[in-house]
């Protein structure tokens, strides 16, 4: 165990993966030489350690980067490619959705695509909507793709390692706002299983599900809620696909209430799936309306005053919990 930032934990995972498997390589725009000289960047120092053969700076060609991963993984390599920011997933989406997610199925199980795509997510660095746009629900809606979203340094390492050695295509979302967060990280080759959520707090009145940086928004709401005598069960989802349905359903069957929190647009966001699933499969347990906390249906704004409107805050979580408790 040692104290590491989220970014260092990712870096650790990449280092270990490359050490233990010759077939792992990384590629992307600036994964080798970066404009940042920052040990909290996931790929920091890897070029020096592993050389130009295995750490590939690419042209600004997102479709080709994804195509590289699909083609190389089908040949038995384990590519770990980076798409710099989430909105640029659009440019790679044909390769990911129509190819990585479907070709294995259509081969009748003859081919597999053990690739990993790292992508940076997050709101709040003032670059506006072409650099910030969380699209996890797109990926989750696409059959054949897995998607995980770590919230802690330990999970950053464990989920990335599991993703790299998973036989299927996995998208690993990295919240930019978390890179500098510190936490305990076990040494060595640790694997966080896909499809297992983490119970952060247990409680009796309301289940709150979140992932990534939104988890900390939830935790900030936790105290005021406790003070109001509301006992929340907070679940860190970790893996969106596969989804730990049992964990969520069991919790809601206990608490009778669900609040989902994410930074993506609420409309048709991943929270809709969770809310719908619960309203479908644990309806008899529900004591109040399911509630979704997420962004209004606007592009990610640029101005600080507007970002505040966009980004769900602890007060929104408190409000949502109180509303579902009212009924």
């Amino acid at each position: 165990m040692s104290q590491k930032t989220f970014g260092q934990a990712l870096n650790d995972a990449l280092t270990i993966a490359m050490e233990i498997d010759e077939n792992v390589f990384i590629a992307g725009e600036g994964v080798g030489v970066s404009i940042h000289q920052d040990p909290n960047m996931a790929t920091h120092g890897l070029l020096k350690k592993f050389g130009r053969k295995r750490v590939k700076d690419t042209p600004v060609s997102e479709a080709a980067i994804a195509g590289l991963a699909v083609g190389a993984s089908c040949m038995g390599l384990r590519p770990v490619v980076e798409i710099m920011f989430f909105p640029f997933i659009t440019l790679a989406s044909d390769m990911l959705v129509n190819h990585a997610g479907k070709l294995g199925y259509m081969s009748g199980g003859k081919s597999s695509f053990p690739l990993t795509v790292r992508v940076k997510a997050g709101v709040g660095f003032g670059a506006g909507s072409q650099h910030s746009h969380n699209l996890e629900s797109w990926i989750a809606h696409s059959p054949g793709l897995k998607i995980v979203w770590p919230a802690t340094p330990e999970d950053a390492k464990g989920l990335l390692l599991t993703a790299i050695f998973d036989p299927d295509p996995v998208i690993v979302v990295e919240d930019m706002m978390l890179y500098r967060m510190s936490g305990e990280v076990p040494a060595g080759d640790i694997r966080t299983p896909l499809g297992k959520a983490r119970m952060v707090t247990s409680g009796t009145d309301c289940t709150i599900v979140a992932y990534g940086v939104a988890l900390y928004t939830v935790m900030k709401a936790f105290k005021p809620l406790s003070e109001q005598g509301i006992s929340c069960e907070v679940i860190d989802l970790r893996s969106l696909v596969p989804l730990d349905k049992a964990c969520i359903l069991d919790s809601v069957r206990k608490t009778g209430r669900l609040v989902v929190v994410h930074e993506a647009n609420r409309f048709c966001g991943f929270g809709a799936e969770l809310a719908a699933m619960v309203a479908e499969e644990a309806f008899e347990a529900l004591k109040g309306p399911v509630k979704r906390v997420g962004a209004p249906q606007i592009p990610v704004p640029t101005a600080p005053t507007h970002e505040k409107i966009f980004k769900p805050g602890p007060e929104d979580v408190v409000l949502a919990v109180r509303e579902t408790m009212k009924k």
């Binding site: 479709a63 195509g67 699909v70 190389a72 390599l77 009748g108 053990p114």
Partner: protein
């Protein structure tokens, strides 16, 4: 190693491969006219056999092939099993992909026909990834990707050519320019007269060839495959040919000038080559007949094999989404 001279033995193989493809696809034409025999869209390479045969014959088995919607010739030239291929085209469970590919997404990884994408233009970036893996593993093989003149307009093709050029990947880009993309002529989708002219922009050799002359195709392919194999980087080959049966079997070609079709009919790669082999005394009429007959026999057997198998069972619809599915 491949013959780098055109010897009779090779000539017979080239002819045999082309006629097999033709007979195979003619059977699909016939079956497509019967209701419910051939689900999906049937897109045939009739008239383009010399490209598939010429190029694939110049490859080693370790070389990887990435195909597109007009794939039958590529697969047959590689020696794919007719039975399981036909069964797959009929979407049957004994098909090479268990009835999950159909005619449009055939893949035979055992023979290094790694994948087929029918997203137009998607082949080149996939092939770039495969060629990268070959370079990474210091393998001897190269990758060949087939795409159309229409596909050449897709951005993905540019990205793949550029990246292959920067990394000097062992990748042969083969553009089968058959004068059409759907109902649009090349001039409507390609700004320059020739697609091979783009090669200079990626620092790779680019050449065009008469795609209906199987030996010319073979010879140029040998040269460019050798170039790629030697580690010099990618190359672009444009084969000029014609799509004789329109875009697909539903296409009545109402927009095609019959005069143009007749001209290309006269340039049929198989007819021309048959005549040449007869003239040169490589084969006589009887031998040709035997080869043709044999092809027909094999094709009929393949159809029987397909007929003999069933549509895949409903339960298999849910498998193969993941190698490691979520534990329920």
């Amino acid at each position: 190693m491949k013959e780098n001279q055109i010897v009779p033995d090779l000539q017979i193989r080239l002819y045999t491969s082309m006629i097999l493809t033709r007979k195979f696809e003619e059977k699909i034409v016939a079956l497509s006219q019967e209701p419910y025999r051939m689900p999906g869209m049937q897109i045939l390479a009739n008239g383009q056999e010399a490209v598939a045969t010429g190029i694939v014959s110049a490859l080693e088995l370790e070389d990887v092939i990435i195909s597109n919607h007009r794939s039958h010739g590529h697969l047959l030239a590689r020696g794919a099993d007719l039975n399981s291929l036909m069964a797959e085209i009929m979407v049957k469970d004994k098909g090479v992909n268990g009835g999950k590919a159909g005619t449009l997404h055939l893949s035979v990884p055992d023979l290094n026909v790694l994948m087929t994408s029918t997203v137009v233009g998607a082949g080149p970036p996939l092939a770039m990834g495969a060629a990268f893996a070959q370079q990474y593993k210091r393998a001897k093989g190269i990758t060949v990707v087939f795409f159309g003149d229409g596909a050449a307009a897709e951005g993905s093709v540019h990205e793949a050519m550029n990246l292959a050029g920067v990394w000097k990947l062992p990748l042969l880009f083969v553009c089968e320019n058959n004068c059409w993309a759907g109902a649009q002529r090349s001039e409507e989708h390609c700004a320059a007269q020739h697609i091979f002219q783009r090669a200079k922009g990626y620092d790779m050799p680019g050449q065009s060839v008469d795609g209906n002359d199987v030996e010319a195709v073979y010879n140029l392919a040998l040269e460019l495959v050798e170039y790629c194999r030697s580690g010099k980087g990618p190359a672009l080959m444009e084969a000029l040919t014609y799509r004789m049966r329109g875009h697909g079997e539903q296409d009545q070609q109402h927009y095609v000038d019959p005069g143009e079709l007749a001209i290309w009919e006269a340039k049929c790669p198989i007819r021309l080559y048959r005549q040449k082999l007869l003239n040169d005394g490589v084969l006589n009429q009887a031998q040709i007949q035997t080869i043709d007959q044999d092809a027909e026999t094999r094709v009929s057997a393949a159809v029987a094999f397909g007929d003999d198998s069933s549509y895949p069972g409903p339960e298999t619809a849910l498998t193969d989404v993941f190698v490691q599915p979520p534990s329920a």
